[in-house]
Amino acid sequence: MNAVDHKLMMELRDVSLTFHSGRKSYDHGKHHVLHELSLKVYEGETLGIIGRNGVGKTTMLRIMAGILAPNSGQVIIAPGKSASLLTLGLGFKPELSGRDNALLAAMLQGSTHGEAEVFLEEIKAFSELEDSFELPVKNYSAGMRARLGFTTALMTHVDILLIDEVLGVGDAHFRGKAQAALRERITSDQTVVFVSHMADQVKAMCDRVIWLEHGKIAMEGEADKVVDAYQDEITAARKQGALERRDKDKPTKSAP
């Protein structure tokens, strides 16, 4: 896909985010999560974001979804367009039935009460929960919860869908169905920003990939090239780490 032909859906311009975490958290102090990050998302594309844990991937998605605001820089979204995170099990209460939870999740994702009521039947059918849909979620198996979570999440209707690693859900049968549904959504005209550290998934689903490192873009371009470069780097870093550990374990001369 040639991104240039497509309409710009969202742009981050020199976005930085720093925050102080509280004394109660294990890593309290000042955190620089994103440093002057700039990127563009085009209509209909699937943009992949890869990077190690803690490089700011989730924070970036939260900024795109409007949940957080950057300290500096701009988030520009095409007029009339919306972006939200695909989220599993939004606000689930274990004491309530699958139906009640699905209603609440759909409304939290922006549906009106009437629209949510319509979705409920679709959710019941797709999740294959049948009569269990009326039972409290605390009686569900992990697989059943995953089905309900995935199906309610799939009901999100937005212009830019932001996905934060959700593909490994439920039992084998449902996982196949879930992945197919999600792939269909992603390969359709839906604009998607997809965060993952599973290289194969990113290669298979994304048109363009951005590699994040220390809150900055390390590389940007075609999916295959960027993912391969990222994997090479990870492998090299692992080897380096192993070497350093070996050196550390060597007996050293005691100080005089």
């Binding site: 975490s21 979804a65 605001a69 989220t87 004491e95 009640d100």
Partner: protein, 258 residues
Amino acid sequence: MHFSQFFRLADVMARMALRADATKFFLGYIWWVIEPLLYVAVLYVVFSVILSNRQPDFLFFLMVGKFAYTWFAKSVIQASNSIVAGKGLIGKVNVPKTLFPLASVQEGLYKQVAVFSLLFAVLIYGGYQVTVTWVYVLPVILVNYIMILACAYLGATLVCIVRDFAPLISLGMIFLMFSSGIFWDARDLGDPDKTALLLAVNPLAFIFDAYRQALMYATPPDMLHLFAIGAVFAGLLGIMVLIMRRASQYLALRALTE
């Protein structure tokens, strides 16, 4: 989010929370009225039996004040922690932060419908005449609700920014319990100036007194005073809504990272 959609969502959240709560206990929804009755029973034992309070209608007097106080205190305390408690949701969807305290306050309101119904039934059973002045309870309830909502929004914002406000708010509620004329009569302080001062500076004391005047003593409350309290708290509520809207992402960051 459209206002009607926002309000409906808060309403559904409140109902769901109540339903979830009810399933946790064997007695379920009956707890809505058992709990305030037990509180009244405890205070009655202390003040009437142990401290020998001689006021003839003390039980009813206590019920009116305590039921209204419990509505205020429990709603404000719960709502104050609501944004922090909702951080799981806040990290995932961009919803107005006013949603969380509103849902808590609605939860308290729906319970209070049952509690006030019980109160009216008990008063009628206890021999109190239903007079025209009972109608004055409606504006008193409305002003009481506005006070709860305004304090809930203020409390939720403060606790979200600095968690240390939570114990201070709980302590403040205990102070209000002792200083608002729940188990003593604001009109029986032995000095009319003191009564006037208390009712002027403590809006809760005025509200509790207004409930009693209307329900027990067939006297309309001072409507101008009531209106003034309503206006002040409506103003506070408006300011809090504006602040919470403008600071929505800041509150999200505080909820997620503190």
